[in-house]
């Protein structure tokens, strides 16, 4: 089991403002899971930070990639 939270999966959802948003499922050490929703721009930045061209390629990346994505603006 990973020593830190990892991205367990991702889905696209309709956001309140009419844009597509990224719903990330994070799995924490110990097995608990939580959900984080990223707006379109941040979601695309995360995909770029992970080198992902498909949602499924986000799985397994460290939660720290979220920070890289957020720092890239």
């Amino acid at each position: 089991m990973s020593a830190e939270a990892v991205i367990a999966g991702a889905e696209i959802a309709a956001g309140h403002d009419g844009s597509a948003e990224l719903v990330l499922r994070l799995r924490y050490p110990g097995g608990a899971e939580g959900v984080v929703v990223l707006e379109a721009e941040k979601g695309l930045e995360l995909m770029a930070a992970c080198g992902a061209a498909h949602l499924d390629e986000l799985a397994g990346h460290s939660w720290r990639k979220l920070l890289e994505g957020a720092c890239s603006t």
Partner: protein, 552 residues
């Protein structure tokens, strides 16, 4: 002699009690009699085969600016809405010092997407304090307005630039209390705050710099008046939202005030969120708190164009790679036949029929009028192309400025949403009327309530649905003398056909100042709307009536 008698209708009086066939008489702007009414009237309206109901109340709008040139808040009124609550999400147009106008205009443009001309050409700034704004809109109202005052503008009034930099001192909090008290005296029905919104520079709005002591102090003032605290919690994270529900509940209990928050919506990707929120609301109501979750009726659509990258394509690797390039490189890729062929391959053997065929061309941009409102599948078939190829070619032919809409992508499961809307602790609202105007239509949620949840699915009864958006809303907000067809109450009345009431398809119009574009939905099945006893809308047209008031 009555002023108006509406005869022979199915009276649904807002109480939730069973409908009955009868008449409603009006005199001096008030309901004068309900039942079988005899005697003459200056005007009689035949409501045979129609419902006579109290006018609908929309508790979450952003019509603050539009009301300065459009006292009907079009098209809200034609949907049967006779009372709106503007000033949500921490933003109102008063109190506002002249020197701070540009800051608040930027915040409004971020939320409402109004063109700049709306603030420079459409009206004259004649006020600074809340009473001045109230008087400015009151002159021409066709619809009733129950305005909130925004926490962000109160903060800006007291703290200036520091409102977006730090927490407030004890003296500043006391000054904010005085300003809030003045606004409530002048007719504000509560205070709105936000933990989410941004200004046009991407900075948190002033309310987000407040600490709990400030919110507590302002809530104490609301308690003096028994008025509402409206809040936008961090809705993207259900755990934080639940923490905010607890915080609002503490304020409600401590100060004896109602509170409400939004948005709350249900998505298949987060199916536990709304049930968890409602469970916490039930727990807090059981403690005596009033913490009303506002839920919208309409589904959420996704819209996009190839001008900007969208997560809509996040399962299509070649599309992701191409669309996240800078514009020039993106255009180069989209005009390269080999690249485009591979992009189309991403969609699989059907060329995107399943994923893209149902997309709707929105209009309001560079899309030719003959395409607007039609599906990409239809247009692609005419062009003898697969949808993915047609989407790319149509976009290229119009400078990429063609918007597509994927309808009903969230909050769309009627079997899940209906029971939530019917829940006694769910406040139907959150329409956002007057906001996001260039992104999607925020009008007609009431029509959709009846067409989808009463008529089509039967998940709410007619009387129940009417009560949820009339008497119940008036009670939650403490709007005295509104929301019921009861003698002595304001004669806010909507006459509608229960078999046809609905919202029409979304369409672009260019009726904002400076010929600015917005998306609207026309009303279906609404015959006549009376506001304070005067006919404000009938037979598909607005009248000259200016009988709306700033109501408390």
């Amino acid at each position: 002699m009555f002023d108006v008698i509406v005869r022979n209708g199915l009276v649904v009086d807002g109480s939730g009690e069973a409908a009955f066939k009868g008449d409603v008489a009006v005199k001096d702007g008030l309901i004068a009699a309900v039942g079988t009414v005899s005697g003459p009237a200056r005007r009689e309206i035949d409501a045979g085969g129609r419902v006579i109901a109290p006018g609908f109340i929309d508790p979450h709008t952003h019509f603050d600016v539009q009301l300065l040139w459009d006292g009907a808040a079009r098209p809200a009124l034609e949907h049967g809405v006779t009372c709106i609550v503007p000033g949500n999400c921490s933003l109102s147009l008063a109190p506002l010092k002249a020197a701070d106008r540009s800051k608040v205009v930027g915040m409004f443009q971020q939320i409402e997407e109004m063109p700049p001309e709306a603030f420079t050409q459409a009206f004259e700034w004649s006020w600074e304090d809340f009473a001045g704004y109230r008087d400015a809109i009151a002159r021409k109202l066709s619809i009733n307005v129950a305005p909130l005052v925004g926490h962000s503008v109160i903060r800006l009034w007291v703290m200036g630039e520091a409102a977006q930099q730090r927490t407030a001192t004890a003296d500043e909090i006391a000054a904010m209390q005085d300003v809030l008290r003045e606004c409530l005296d002048a007719g504000a029905v509560g205070l709105s705050t936000s933990f989410v919104d941004l200004d046009e520079h991407g900075r948190p709005v002033p309310s987000r710099f407040a600490d709990f002591a400030e919110l507590d102090a302002l809530s104490a003032v609301l308690g003096e008046f028994g008025r509402m605290l409206q809040c936008v919690p961090e809705f993207y994270d259900v755990d934080i939202t639940i923490a905010r529900i607890d915080q609002l509940s503490e304020l409600s209990l401590k100060h004896g005030i109602p509170t409400t928050f939004s948005p709350v919506f249900d998505n298949t990707s987060t199916p536990d969120n709304a049930p968890r929120i409602l469970a916490r609301v039930e727990e807090q109501f059981a403690r005596g708190a009033r913490v009303w979750p506002q839920m919208q009726t309409r589904p959420i659509d996704i819209s996009f164009s190839l001008l900007r990258p969208s997560l809509f394509f996040a399962r299509l690797p070649r599309w992701v790679r191409v669309l996240r390039q800078p514009l020039e490189a993106r255009l180069t890729s989209l005009t390269d036949p080999e690249t485009v062929a591979k992009m189309v391959e991403d969609l699989g053997p059907d060329g995107g029929r399943k994923m893209m065929g149902g997309l709707i061309v929105r209009g309001g941009d560079a899309a030719p009028a003959e395409f607007v409102g039609r599906t990409l599948g239809e247009i692609a078939a005419e062009r003898c192309q697969v949808p993915a190829q047609a989407l790319i070619d149509m976009s290229l032919e119009h400078g990429l400025d063609v918007a597509f809409l994927a309808a009903d992508m969230g909050h769309e499961n009627t079997d899940r949403i209906g029971p939530m809307l019917a829940h006694p602790l769910v406040h139907i609202g959150a329409s956002d009327g007057g906001a996001h105007i260039a992104s999607f239509s925020t009008y007609g949620d009431t029509g959709y309530l009846f067409s989808e949840f009463v008529r089509k699915s039967g998940l709410l009864g007619l009387e129940q649905a009417v009560r949820k958006i009339t008497a119940e809303t008036a009670d939650i907000w403490g709007l005295k003398g509104r929301g019921r067809l009861t003698p002595g109450h304001a004669a806010d009345i909507v006459i509608f056909d229960p078999e046809t009431i609905d919202r029409a398809d979304e369409r672009p119009v260019f009726d904002m100042p400076g010929e600015g574009m917005r998306y609207v939905r026309d009303a279906r099945g609404i015959d006549t709307v009376l506001v304070n006893g005067e006919v404000a809308y009938t037979a598909g047209a607005y009248t000259d009536a200016r009988s709306g008031v700033v109501c408390t």
